[in-house]
Symmetry: C2
Subunit: 476 residues, 2 copies
Amino acid sequence: MSPCAATLDAVFYPRSIAVVGASADPTKAGAKWVQGLLAAGYSGPIYPVSRHGGTIGGLNIARSLAEIDDDIDYVIASVPLHSVLQLIDECISKRARVVQFFTAGFSETGKPEGADLETEMLRRARSAGLRIIGPNCIGSYCPEAHIPLGPAATGKIGIPGPIGFISQSGGIAAKLVEYGLARDIRFSKGVSVGNSLDLDASDFLDYLGQDSKTGAIGMYLEGTRDGRRLFDSLKRVAARKPVVLWKGGRTPAGANAAHSHTGSLAASPAIWSAMMRQAETMEAHSLEELCDCLLLLQNLGRTRARNVAVVGGLADGGGGISVSGSDACADNGLLLPELEPATRYRLLELVGEVGSILRNPVDVSPAQFRGLETICAAIQTVAEDRGIELLMVQMDMDIMASFLSADEGMEIARFLARLSGTSDKAIVVVLPSGSAETERQAAASTLSSAGVPVYPTIARAARALSIVSGRAALPA
Amino acid sequence: MSPCAATLDAVFYPRSIAVVGASADPTKAGAKWVQGLLAAGYSGPIYPVSRHGGTIGGLNIARSLAEIDDDIDYVIASVPLHSVLQLIDECISKRARVVQFFTAGFSETGKPEGADLETEMLRRARSAGLRIIGPNCIGSYCPEAHIPLGPAATGKIGIPGPIGFISQSGGIAAKLVEYGLARDIRFSKGVSVGNSLDLDASDFLDYLGQDSKTGAIGMYLEGTRDGRRLFDSLKRVAARKPVVLWKGGRTPAGANAAHSHTGSLAASPAIWSAMMRQAETMEAHSLEELCDCLLLLQNLGRTRARNVAVVGGLADGGGGISVSGSDACADNGLLLPELEPATRYRLLELVGEVGSILRNPVDVSPAQFRGLETICAAIQTVAEDRGIELLMVQMDMDIMASFLSADEGMEIARFLARLSGTSDKAIVVVLPSGSAETERQAAASTLSSAGVPVYPTIARAARALSIVSGRAALPA
């Protein structure tokens, strides 16, 4: 039974939220849900509920849902397993729209009691029009509505942006948001669906497909209760906006763990891959790949750029990057076209022949000895080559720190940030980790703020380009 | 002509060093070589040489090698191409042992003049017993002797340790050292060999094979002038200590770049892989893999551990880690054995069933609500399971920061550091990046100092285990 949009609006933009199983003890999960909403600045009424009463975060704890003198859109349930059915009944009496169960211990335990309890929950909820998220999940996340993800007292939400996500795993959802905060991936909304007893990934996929705030969608799934429905949703939504799906539990060991985690049953990875191909859904194979693709989609859209120029050795060390970067690009189906004669001639003038590589990838190592302007001019020259669609620049902040001042390194980052605004070529920057982490993070921040996607290695950037363009090879 | 050990001792432990092409202008490469040696605390005499004279770093610049009233072990040459033969002659007159050419523009340009010049250099040097490193390289690195790598004014050298390396590329060598500084990989000595005109990778491999300070060897090669010789050296040395080799230029695009970089000629990647297998050399496919393997070898030796327990969800988010970690382990041939009944019973007592996964991988998420001691006790319980050889613990410092205090997160890192000293199981920690970089780096530092290898993802750790144990599948 597909939910109407208004029902899912209540998940992401609830007028009011009740947290059942709240606690006056701030170390308990129920308390952290309340604290998180307060810290994130959720502006609607928050109603903590616990039969023990008390206060949390300055709010009085109601002893039951019935005691609350207001309508409730969204109920967060952090209650013991034995209270679950009673809470369903109370939600129905209160005419709450959606209840999300943090509570776990259901079908994912593999015990028949867990599955039976789920069946009864669903029966009661469906007969009364109450919708359920989970159980065994952390539910809704919506930076725009100041709703943080999960029971995290810090209430970190990040800046709203175009990326929506659906994750069967709360942990993967939380890590995706953490990566987002660190890498400037900005989210419209997301949801962790856990056991997907009632509302499932397909419901949310359809919703995000229609959502004007969501430009691209990331998914982490371990299984589905309705493969046909998922396929139809993927096909419909992916025709309209990019969808990247990471299927966890590809291997027998992973599938076993998935069964214990979200009660998911195994289907062969080949079936999943075939489904994704047919539904024109991009396939990621790890959290890193998923994030790398979402970052690319956020900043460059569904790019099909294949003709790439790589520039390295901004201070030194460009030779090895030329070679290993070529391998990484070739592994991922990217082409490194020969540069135009005019480009090579200009590079020769700027950089000189000795110690440089004026083919593509371009190693501009000797430019350091002629100063910052030469390095920037060499990069700009390559960006202007008419044979390339995308410029990838590797900046080793630690190696640069040996040859240039800290400010010169940052000046190159600022130059690239400006270039991305003026050039007709897409720009991707590779900032490998190393011993100059402070400088690396400062450069990453400058570039990210300008909408330049930043990757830790050429291989990671090339892989994301390969997946997003639809040229990705089968999984490794 | 194989060098005697005393010759290569002069490369890593020179009694005196001359820098020819030094400059009074501190922005020039020749000046940076001198500054680097001074900053690193090299204790022997340093003789800057330039026909322009002057001073650099408080040292008088001699106008020629002949002017120096001392024996010279090691000459660093940062001179123009047209001065190269004259410098060879001067080195011979001075009876210098080894000259290393930073100078580039030889066979790697693809022009016959470059190759002809190399031939003449080699002829003159060989006739007089002078040995050459490079040209087109950054030469020797030896933290123990306070010799930094390359013309880097900062003179960073790191702490001496058991890892030796040989890199055809100066940039890759420099990046390897930067990774080392950041990840607590400690080096005995290393060398960048560039075009390998005279002394080549095999010479240094034989030397490091005999070197008592070197316990494991990493190599980055783009090609070789004598494949048979390299094969014999690899076979001989790898029988004695672990050797990890990354061959750059595996793809046609990479091989083209390699030819421009170090003048290396292509051989098929299949031939290289076959050679490595026959010589029992571990094969890495990227800088990250090379470093990941060297870190493992440094801290755990040539481990063959295959039965692994993974623990995640120290605060939350362990479910997705259980699933995706299982996939990553399975992809790399690791086994996740079922835990002993006693282990599972104890975990059930400690963590409880709800919201946890008490199979392997173990998700101890609910333990957070019982406090730090419960989390540590759960980890220790798994470490004591007799069916496992290696414990891999994932710590998401950002997710932990939402549930535990910063100090509790560090307390877990300290607990793991202690456990690695008392447990009979090898311990590997996975510290993914995210939004809590300061905390992540502090934890990484505590663990690294205790000899615990730290990886950014389970997949990276599993891959390193797979390569080091010799079970690695063919390249992706």
